[in-house]
Symmetry: C2
Subunit: 350 residues, 2 copies
């Protein structure tokens, strides 16, 4: 077993000083050609690579980004990570991933674990519990210590940092308008409780789109699901309440769901009730994931361009990191909005 070779070992072996080796490898003009060649050849032979940790300590930069997300087994988040990874890699950064699992404590713990020198900055999406608690001290403290944060998707206005968001509002307006254009007269929305910012925005977009078309939103057609009761493994509750809404409001001819799962569940319930899609009922879901594409019928969806969100966030963070010379924190923050795109499939009329 050959351990990794260090400058010190090379120096000893070639009978020169550590400084000489370091300079020779960096092609410094201070060192004679002879010595350079000798050192470089030796380093190549023993496959010398500078130790990242030592470099990090010296430069007080790790060239590593910390990413904290609520969940990784999720098409949207994994796509964001991929976007981050691609950009980070291209720009010479590594990515450490931490999962909050939608828990406030784990979010705080994860951030503390990484903030002590392991990373240069954070990219994160806030956990549901944190959003409910409205306790953001860990974000402000991190920022106060000079560590930049970029938030994406689930953001909060109270915090001064760069943000990358989806235009949930206008995306929803587009989707609902599309349903109206395709002839829907009674459109229901399946959404989440308001503390999830994106759910709230999407609901507002839904209402606005109706109003724009001279339709009054009816409370009976707004289904706010408590997503603490509904998980991927427990869809019966969801099916039941959707079924009830359909029964009590047989005039429903369009459904706008704020995520894939709600949309697919609505289609399933409708199918079981003998309602045909898209003839009798048209459905659109927010979030374009694998389910939408491969559902039967396939689901018309509002694509969020998750990979672009990740890329944008990573570029924002790295830009900020590399601009900050001499510990001068750049105090200007920007919010980038990534526009959505309606992908038409079989669940709406063509």
């Amino acid at each position: 077993m050959k351990r990794k070779v260090t400058l010190k070992q090379i120096a000893k072996e070639l009978d020169v000083s550590i400084s000489t080796v370091s300079k020779a490898l960096r092609n410094s003009a201070e060192i004679s050609e002879d010595t350079k060649l000798k050192v470089q050849a030796f380093a190549k032979l023993y496959n010398y690579r500078p130790n990242n940790i030592a470099l990090s300590l010296k430069n007080r930069k790790t060239r590593t980004l910390g990413v904290i997300i609520p969940e990784i087994v999720h098409h949207f988040f994994s796509k964001v990570i991929k976007g981050i990874e691609v950009v980070a890699n291209k720009r010479g950064y590594n990515v450490i991933v931490g999962l909050s699992n939608e828990s406030f404590d784990k979010e705080v713990l994860n951030m503390e674990m990484l903030a002590n020198g392991s990373i240069d900055g954070f990219i994160l999406s806030i956990s549901k519990e944190t959003l409910q608690n409205q306790d953001y001290h860990h974000f402000t403290e991190t920022i106060n210590q000079g560590m930049p944060i970029v938030m994406f998707d689930r953001v909060v206005n109270d915090i001064d940092c760069d943000k990358v968001v989806v235009d949930d509002y206008s995306g929803s307006i587009n989707a609902v308008s599309h349903l109206i254009n395709k002839g829907c007269k009674n459109i229901a929305i399946i959404t989440t409780k308001d503390y999830v910012s994106v759910g709230k925005l999407r609901t507002q977009g839904y209402i606005q789109a109706l109003e724009d078309n001279g339709i009054q939103a009816k409370p009976s057609l707004i289904l706010k699901v408590d997503d603490r009761q509904v998980s991927d493994d427990n869809l019966e509750v969801l099916e039941t309440i959707i079924g009830e809404m359909f029964k009590e409001n047989p005039q429903i001819d369009g459904v706008f769901a704020v995520n894939e799962l709600y949309a697919l569940t609505a289609m399933k319930v409708a199918r079981n009730m003998g309602i045909t899609i898209p003839e009798q009922l048209q459905v659109i879901g927010f979030t374009d994931g694998v389910l939408s594409k491969h559902a039967n019928p396939s689901l018309t969806a509002v694509s969020q361009h998750a990979d672009l969100i990740g890329q944008t966030a990573a570029n924002l963070l790295i830009d900020k990191l590399e601009i900050e010379i001499d510990d001068e924190v750049d105090e200007s923050y920007q919010t980038t909005t990534i526009s959505t795109e309606l992908i038409e499939r079989e669940s709406t009329k063509s």
Copy 2:
């Protein structure tokens, strides 16, 4: 902005030496109670946390695992990562993720980027290109440098390291036997080219199950898809060749697909040809992802317990890291097999 406080600053502030501060914080008996209390109070006030990088350099351990996977936007891999994360977190480790994107070069690059001190060991699944090239020098070199590797799912026998694999062979036997038990007489398999080890094993399991039941495998019913031509965005080719197989072999009454996508595509093609599922055709897919559960009809699938794979791999790696005292490499390697489970759903008869 308060920068992170260091031992040196505390020492200066309290007019003691750095060593005294360090010992006081670690509750050393060498230090008087008075000094300890003074130092600890000050540290708490200024929220002192030891710098991870400095610790890593000193201890020559980073308490960080490197994970290299071919793709993250993939239910199986993201679930494995989640399993790794949970265990790593519980045992005080961080996780750096690198994506090979199925490319040999990116796999090598990513590993080199991390192997220079950033991490203590690797957990990885080999990229398709590497499997084709059969060039494994980067693995052996890493191991030779004393950095342990744990491979999962896509492994290769040539390399001496711990491995976590799925029992692809017996899982496939189970699945195909199930089809036979449910009355299938002519079972087709949709699989990948043989260089992907798991595809090969699953195909072998299929053949074995047929033989066990006195059935001779027919080449015309073995469809080997070139997955370089088929992506999530380009399923037409796949649909065409599956359709051709169905037309040329109308006696087919069962399909075993080595992944979800192939299974769903087979169901789609069948549906378009007016074949009913599960009455006329029963389908089972390997890999239990979101698609299987939410497909219509939902897909009977062979679950791989991806999270368990991740947990097992992480535990194996950390065990090895923490056993290796005094640079003594533990040369005993084990291969853990995670058994599969058949999840019955609507695509097979009950």
